[in-house]
Amino acid sequence: MNSRTPWVRPLLATGVAAVFCLPLYVALVNAFKTSAKVVGSPLALPVPPTLDNIEQVLQRPDGLFWYGLVNSVILTTLSILITTVLAAMSAYHLVRSGRWWSRAVLGVMLTGLMIPPAVIMLPITRILNAIGLMHTMPGAVLVNVGYYLPFAVFVFMGFIRSIPRELEEAAAVDGAGRIRIFWQVVFPLLRPASASVLIFLGVWVWNDFLTPLLVLGPGAGNTVTVGIFRSIGPYQQDFGAVFAFMLLATLPVLAFYLAFQKHFVRGLTGGATKG
């Protein structure tokens, strides 16, 4: 295929990708069209483009977008920072101490990697009710931290095993305490792992639907992802406005992803090759 017809592969690859892209294209162009044009010619380019849909989302009287955006930023930032710090500290201690109970703790935590959220949501709401954190931001942060800790610990665990102990030993000889050694020597070394964890969790928490839907609930306002769900009524078909809402809700996470892209793909493909 390559020697005789070198144009087949690029053409085929581009053609397949174009078909794959069609839903994204439809969502993007129709965010800038009036409703009549969306239904009449969904595939046409938006000429001239209209910003009515975007304005309509930004100026919603119920503030669904802006409240959602603020809540998403707070929830995502707090959840991923706390998870990363807790996971790095505990993974470091558990890997380095090497005792049987450390391995037991790690083993129990790693079973948490495959627990479907639906299985534990009901007891979680009861626990949050009992400690007074139901329908609050701290409650939602707590749920996220608990749920994503196993993944973060798993990533840090693999990484810590690959870094030498000598630096820590040297720092200990110089009289540094355990906590100082961790923050000044170990944590900077863990930067690539921290980046992977932050980017994965950032995307997951931002995109999460079930947890904020049930835990944040109606009272405190909800995240922008739940806002998308609320902006579509059961029969509402104003596609232009819905696409505009989704575009605005996705831009922050898209920018975040593009900024840290290489960590994302590296973290994803770490185990895909035979060592």
Binding site: L12, A17, L24, S102, I115, P116, L149, L210, I232, Q237
Partner: protein, 332 residues
Amino acid sequence: MTHPLRSRPGDVAAGGVPRSGRPEPTAAPSGRTGGPRRRRTWTWPSAGAFAVFVLPTLTVFTAMVLAPILWTLYIGMTDERATRPNTSFVGLDNYGFLLGDEEFRHSLWNTVVITVIVVLLTNLLGLAIALLLRRQGRLYSLLRGVYFTPVILSAVVVSVIGRAILADDGLLNSTLVSLGVKSPPGWLTDPSYAIYSVSGIMVWQLLGFAVVVYLAGLAGIPAELDEAASLDGAGPWQQFRAITWPMLAPALTINTVMLMISAFKVYDQIAVLTNGGPGTDGTATVAFEVIRTAFSEQRPGVASAMAGIMLVVVSIASVTTLKLLQRREVNL
């Protein structure tokens, strides 16, 4: 390693007991690990360090994952429901009820259908596209990015796009009507299409993940292997059978297990696309049924038993698949 002078800090437990020796249950800091150098602050398993480094993680994990799992299993053995004033322990009655319950069996079947389609189709298409993109250059890295975009979108976003396109009066059908099709099918409302539409949307979203993992696997295959094979006269299909496919075993393992877990817990897509319909349970999955029964129908007992079954099935299925595929990796 057992000699105190040669011991490294990590090899030595508190009180200078080597790792191979019996661990001291008290784990109190002894002050030094022995040896000429004084390492006062360097005794690993001390209660204080454990409290600072591990206890916060362990507490949150226990409160938000471990305890809820056990509590779910307990609630599943009670007859708790909103309409019943007193709750009592009923043992495994809920499980017995569920095994004969048409609605639950249907949701289990839906979940299996979605999982099988997602695992097979995503792996197949992901591999094909990865083979197509297995070249260097700006075009191919751009196309990789294209396939990966849906992976970082929310399932809610992808499902809303899917609904806008596939709804009865959606963009696909309005295009079909303008092309002269009299009564286009209800992609999400016709029971014979709905579950395949939902699965298709999931495949579309997860495809980029499989592509990236397969591309990484392909990048790990030494070029000499293919060159040697083609010198020996092997055709492309023989090369694929003898070299590419076996060398992709680790990528297949990752993709299959990850796709299985994602497909099995699917909730968001169902909530947005069909709300469990058409009918009461046309596309309802187990996860959807658990949430609906627990929160909308207020029947925590039955819902938790469903969650228990889900937990057992997902654990057995993913661990078995992982073991089988890993054994295949070793046997190469």
